[in-house]
């Protein structure tokens, strides 16, 4: 009886160990995926803020250029 159980038990133990290993790996894959999504979102929001600032700066510069340059007549 014990001899019969041993190989089965061993297999089952091994199987459990394998499954735990696989579970570990898959959960880390999910963490990586979550990290990537978060990174993507935060990057996009920061880039959008940058975009806004750049646009505002560009408009201000246009205005200042128009004020400063002389001799600009109607096209």
């Amino acid at each position: 009886m014990a001899g019969q159980e041993d190989p089965v038990q061993r297999e089952i133990h091994q199987d459990w160990a394998n499954r735990e290993y696989i579970e570990l790996i898959t959960s880390s894959i999910k963490k990586i995926a979550d990290f990537l999504n978060l990174f993507d979102m935060s990057c996009r929001s920061r880039l959008a803020t940058l975009n806004e600032k750049l646009t505002a700066l560009e408009r201000r510069i246009e205005y200042i250029e128009a004020r400063v340059t002389k001799g600009e007549t109607l096209t």
Binding site: E11, D15, T26, E65, V68, L74
Partner: protein, 558 residues
């Protein structure tokens, strides 16, 4: 519903069927799971690369912008340090002549276009089933549209919106033009609402003769009966008919000088009118204004040739609007005779009388006395249009053009409330005397548009000959009799007239084509720029003056 942008491919690690003949199944499952994990990692790495790629592209474009900004700032700083307050010239010219500062407002457009679809979504889309290949049928289509557009058109809503915006801008422009025109001529529409009933009663009395004239009260009652009593599909017709006649009456009451004024103004629009699409209802009042003066023009021609009124002793003013009066007296005349029985013949008789009068007017040198008209329609008490109409020696072309156009007016109300019971009436109206023949086919063509479901092909050749037989047709409702008129009495004249007719037709058609070409060119010029379209519409809407060049100056970047 949020759409999954990146889907890691092997979703389930061990949901596969195990191969047979394996002793250690647990190990097998473990190995399969591990293999799927590796595949998942590979797809994860692919998506990670895609994410970083997108972010990098955006950041890269920003870097360009930042660099250019940096350069501009450097230049500005240099130029600012060089500014010297003493050097500044303040001339009035500079202040006014300088171009107004307009910052470049770039708007995000076409955000959800096919081209802006992210790559992973495009790949997901490609996995899906394709639509049926309807585009292979495109070369066999007549209208040049793509076959697939009828099945699925991604740009459908945008095209719809664009068309609506462009249409709105056009409408606004037209409104403004109309307002300007209305400002110029505020008095014209005021003339339309006049007392309409007085004239009708007068016509009736004169038509029926002094013996048969009824009391005013009875007349009104019966007229209201006529308008409201008959079957539903007759209701609209007599009413619209009567309404139109009211409008015509009101104008006919105008003195001669004012009529001539209206004539000169309306004549320029006379030829265009037959080719407009069914005139809009609000234009009815104004629409009546135009054709009526033309009728009056023909009538005034009649007046000039025969200043004396016929033996009935009617006033010249009464004589002038010959075509419009006959139809209204007819409905009222019918009211006196049996209503129901003659209801079917009501539509035909009112219309044929107008052509007979001008026909006889232009042909018969001797004007029969009032009793003669009674012979025309024994069953119907006629007004006296034939006796009124004195003969015209030669119809001048403007008169010729005017008469048929004016005849379209009495017919227009008819086709608008059209029912099958009216196949004959439209053919008779376009049958003016042969003298007016060249322009009659124009009206025939014009009439062919409103009475769409009517008797087909009002042939031009037999058409003009019809008026030569006025007595028989009016009382009969026989469509077959209309086309085959008596033999042509004026073959020689018809050749010359047909040439003129062709020229007129081509002229009108050319105008149509030109308009179409203009519109097509406009459509080609218009780009798919949301901002431009919107700006045009808003500019037209809020501009006080017609500054169509406003938006042309603006430079739309992007």
């Amino acid at each position: 519903m949020p759409l999954v942008k990146r889907n890691i491919d092997p979703r389930h690690l061990c949901h596969t069927a195990l191969p047979r003949g394996i002793k250690n199944e647990l190990e097998c499952v473990t190995n399969i799971s591990l293999a799927n994990i590796i595949r998942q990692l590979s797809s994860l790495s692919k998506y990670a690369e895609d994410i970083f790629g997108e972010l990098f592209n955006e950041a890269h474009s920003f870097s360009f912008r930042v660099n250019s900004l940096q350069e501009r700032v450097d230049r500005l700083s240099v130029s600012v340090t060089q500014l010297d307050p003493k050097e500044e010239e303040l001339s009035l010219q500079d202040i006014t002549m300088r171009k107004a500062f307009r910052s470049s407002t770039i708007q995000d457009q076409q955000l959800f276009d096919r081209k802006t679809l992210p790559i992973p979504l495009q790949e997901t889309y490609d996995v899906c089933e394709q639509p049926p290949p309807l585009n292979i049928l495109t070369p066999y289509r007549d209208d040049g549209k793509e076959g697939l557009k009828f099945y699925t058109n991604p740009s459908y809503f945008f095209d719809l919106w664009k068309e609506k915006m462009l249409q709105d801008t056009e409408d606004k422009r037209k409104e403004k033009r109309k307002q300007k025109k209305n400002l110029d001529r505020p008095h014209e529409p005021e003339k339309v609402p006049r007392a309409p009933h007085d004239r009708r009663r007068e016509w009736q009395k004169l038509a029926q003769g002094p013996e048969l004239a009824e009391d005013d009260a009875n007349l009104l009652h019966k007229h209201i009966e006529v308008a409201n009593g008959p079957a539903s599909h007759f209701e609209t017709r007599p009413q619209t008919y009567v309404d139109h006649m009211d409008g015509s009456y009101s104008l006919s009451a105008l003195p001669f000088s004012q009529m001539s004024e209206l004539l000169t103004r309306a004549e320029e629009r006379v030829l265009v009118r037959p080719h407009e699409p069914p005139p809009p209802p609000p234009m009815h009042g104004a629409g009546d204004v135009k054709p009526i003066p033309t009728c009056i023009s023909s009538a005034t021609g009649l007046i000039e040739n025969r200043p004396q009124s016929p033996a009935t002793g009617r006033t010249p003013v009464f004589v002038s609007p010959t075509p419009p009066p006959p139809p209204p007296p007819l409905p009222s005349a019918l009211s006196t005779s049996s209503l129901r029985a003659s209801m079917t013949s009501t539509p035909p008789p009112p219309v044929p009388p107008p052509p007979p009068p001008p026909a006889t007017a232009l042909q018969a040198p001797a004007v029969p006395p009032p009793p003669a008209p009674l012979q025309i329609a024994p069953g119907v008490l006629h007004p006296a249009p034939p006796p009124i109409a004195p003969p015209l020696v030669q119809p001048s072309p403007p008169v010729a053009r005017a008469a048929p156009v004016c005849e379209t007016v009495p017919v227009h109300p008819l086709p608008q409330g059209e029912v099958q019971g009216l196949p004959p009436p439209p053919p008779p109206p376009p049958l003016p005397p042969p003298g007016i023949r060249p322009s009659s086919p124009v009206t025939v063509a014009a009439l062919a548009h409103p009475p769409s479901g009517l008797h087909p092909t009002p042939s031009t050749a037999p058409g003009p000959h019809a008026p030569l037989m006025p007595p028989s047709p009016p009382s009969q409702v026989v469509p077959a009799s209309e086309p085959k008129r008596h033999p042509s009495t004026l073959p020689v004249i018809s050749d010359a007239r047909s040439v003129l007719l062709e020229a007129i037709r081509k002229g009108i058609q050319l105008r149509k084509v030109e308009e179409q070409r203009e519109q097509e060119a406009k459509h080609e010029r218009i780009e798919n720029d949301v901002a431009t379209i919107l700006s045009r519409r808003i500019a037209v809407e809020y501009s006080d003056s017609e500054d169509d060049s406003e938006f042309d100056e603006v430079d739309w970047l992007e």
